[in-house]
């Protein structure tokens, strides 16, 4: 499934699924999940070489959700891809579930247990290094939060990735400019962020991280690049994307919607879905 419109529909479905999960379980991280839904959709439906029927296929591209708290978007995508039954999403965070509150590699399709921030990039370095050593062609992707970049470990990994010339590694930053306690530039300023990555020896590609078409182009460009540098996709996003009253509000990092808010969120996304479906019919 590669058509841009199809992927927009997919991302909207993922947003609906993740809001249902959060409302049902009364826990979760809604803002960061919504902001990364388009990135995950493009990765899983367009970019990565994967086989959900064979999650341990050796040649598969690897993905690590370094910002593990966006697990609701991740589980929704994995379920939709068929790694586990969609029904299981209803058990999210509940006692006895496999789908615990942060990614866990007992779940098919998940490589690493994450949730403590600042781990993903180092792991990605290890995997990308392993691929090179074994002459394997798989690529390694990791999605980081922007607030997460305050963890020094990311910069240790950034240094290592360029040192080892890991051009099979693609890091993505969900640049929504918010963390729990507010705006990243007020809490611990990251700018000039593009220059920081460049000075660590990375190729940096910037894009609108909530625009499916641009994301596809950016991933293609990153993959096509022939030099030996690791690639960083600085994906400018809106935290809470897709639900107007959640967008750009720090306090929606892990708030659970009330019944009224839940209904409003679902109906806003369903309206968008209608628009896309109509477009599809016209085509």
């Amino acid at each position: 499934m590669n058509d841009v419109l199809d992927l927009k529909i997919k991302a909207t479905q993922i947003r609906l699924d993740l809001i249902n999960m959060i409302y049902e379980s009364k826990s979760g991280h809604i803002g960061g999940s919504l902001s990364s839904a388009d990135i995950l959709t493009v990765l899983y439906y367009n970019v990565m070489n994967i086989d959900p029927n064979n999650p341990n296929w050796e040649e598969r591209d690897r993905f690590i959700l370094s910002k593990g708290h966006s697990v609701e978007a991740y589980y929704s995508v994995l379920a939709d891809k068929g790694y586990f039954p969609k029904e299981e999403l209803k058990t999210y965070c509940k006692f006895g579930t496999r789908l615990i509150g942060h990614p866990n590699n007992k779940i098919p399709g998940i490589e690493m247990n994450t949730g403590a921030l600042g781990h993903g990039l180092s792991i990605a370095v290890g995997m990308a290094l392993g691929a090179k050593m074994d002459n394997k062609s798989f690529r390694v992707f990791t999605l980081m939060g922007d607030g997460e970049l305050a963890e020094g470990s990311n910069w240790e990994a950034a240094m290592a990735a360029s040192h080892y010339k890991l051009n099979n590694l693609i890091g993505i930053v969900d640049r929504n400019k918010l963390q729990i306690s507010g705006n990243t530039e007020e809490v611990m300023s990251l700018e000039p962020l593009e220059d920081k990555w460049k000075s660590f020896g990375w190729d940096v590609l910037t894009t609108d991280g909530n625009d499916i078409e641009k994301l596809i182009d950016t991933f293609n460009a990153a993959i096509a690049s022939a030099n030996d540098k690791p690639k960083l996709i600085l994906a400018y996003t809106t935290k809470g994307k897709g639900v107007k009253f959640i967008e750009n509000k720090a306090n929606w990092h892990h708030r659970v919607p009330t019944e009224e808010e839940y209904k409003a969120a679902i109906s806003e996304l369903q309206e968008l879905m209608e628009v896309y479906l109509n477009e599809q019919n016209i085509k």
Partner: protein, 311 residues
Amino acid sequence: MNNIIAPRDMFGKTLLELGEINDNIFVINADVSKATKTEEFAKKFGDRYINVGISEQNMVGVAAGLARVGFISIMSTFASFAPGRCYDQIRQSIAYSNLNVKVASTHPGLAVGPDGAMHQCLDDVALMRELPNFIVLAPSDQIETKKAVIKAIEYNGPVYIRIGRMECPIYFKEDWDFEIGKAYILKDGSDVTLIAHGSMVHIIYEASDELEKEGISVRVIDMPSIKPIDTKVIIKAAMETRGIIVAEDHFIYGGLYSAVCEVTSNFSPCIVKAIGVQDIFGESGSPLELYKKYGLTKENVILKAKEILKS
């Protein structure tokens, strides 16, 4: 006083009160001030508060530096992230350098609930207890939390305070005097001794009520000071009752259970049984569902007490 609040709320309130009378207090946080309840302090004493963002290792160094130039540093985050994330920084820059830093961590144990094993810190007491110079406190109810925070700040040196997230019934009176290094006997008894810290105090207390109904005399000890530990109280319990049960929302390795065993095996060997999380990571669920699955229940305390009395 019937207004029960969670220990972490009391931590926030106490800091606010201390901020008024002690302008040497500096509070540091790493993006989770809402959860660790230091937000109010931040609002009121903005010039003695910083949020270093999501950088716990950095937070430790900054706290140590501030302490070295004369402040009383109080750094707080979740137990998984301090000591979890920044143990080496704590070891070298706080413990070894013997600086006046208070590491105040919330969200310990299975009580964290749905977030799952990554966030359920079950090894913090073990990590902190073996560090020279550190005092380790794990208060239970809100009053004990308040007093422990006050005493930790009065004390000149490194202190780790494990602060609960679940509400706990009140066992102590406002005018009671908390001392570092002392255990508190909530009920005296002569058949069996129950010892706990933090959220498990409530559970051993409930277990004792049931055991008493069956005519068993139970000594209930709240042991907020894990280091230094109240050796006398432990030795007395070992000698005067038939055995000890130690309950904690922590791994059975390295925590209060180990600390109590170190005392009994040295001075007065007796049966000491553990209620705690075995050699396994947690999962998602409500705190009480998890307590049940992992055996942190009054039923399990009762069972073990009877085993001791049978032996």
